[in-house]
Amino acid sequence: MSPPPSAAHRLWPHRTMADVRVFDHAPGVVARCPVCEQVLLRLVRGPGRAWLDLRGLTGLQLPVPDQT
């Protein structure tokens, strides 16, 4: 049984995007939390346009080089 979403999301800061479960044999791409399987983002591509849903992401830590 999966932990409740709140517990899973508390783990999120300690995970990397590489941990995300991606389902791309689908009409779009769906990325899910590896713990609770909730949808983090969805991506659909049509002719000349794409749709992006970030419903499950509230923030990301991104590695960047120091400013000089």
């Binding site: 044999h25 009409p27 779009g28 769906v30 659909v44 591509r45 049509g46 849903d53």
Partner: protein, 201 residues
Amino acid sequence: MGIVSPGFKGRGRRREPSAELPPGQYLVEDFPVLSAGPTPDIDLADWELAITSETGEQRRWDWAGFRNLPPEPVTVDLHCVTHWSKLGTSWEGVSLDTLLEGLDTSASFALVTSYGGYSTNLPLEDLVDGKAWIAFGYDGQELEPEHGGPARLLVPHRYFWKSAKWVRGIQLLDADEPGFWESLGYHNYGDPWQEQRFWGD
């Protein structure tokens, strides 16, 4: 793979389009598995199907009750929005006409929900008059979990994403409510013969 995927193309052999295929489709002989999430582990002892009307009236079936309903053999063509089509597929299922018989409703829309959280929306008129089934058998066998077993919606006159795997509930609604893919670019109606793939098609 780039971050903007063009979508799953299937593994079948690409053939020239024929008159029996909707525009933009190619024929496959295998049965591609597409899924927006993991295959749920559904124990038949816990399985249920519920139909809820717009007034809250509800019908529920457990697995035994559902399987006691009269089944129908169904042979239909499948058309996936990712361009593959599979012709002459054989299913066994219970007609939505049977499940909805005698239900007092004036709803115009349906939102179909699944184990695992998937959903899709259709006009209610697309689920009645012999156009839709809850399928539990495929090609003479129990429907395999990867194809939506123990039971999935089968609405073959719409793109196949409308035939929700692992179906659990059908809500009858006065107002349309977009489902999982319909809320993110995919066409609300999804008629393969009109090539209604995306918003605005």
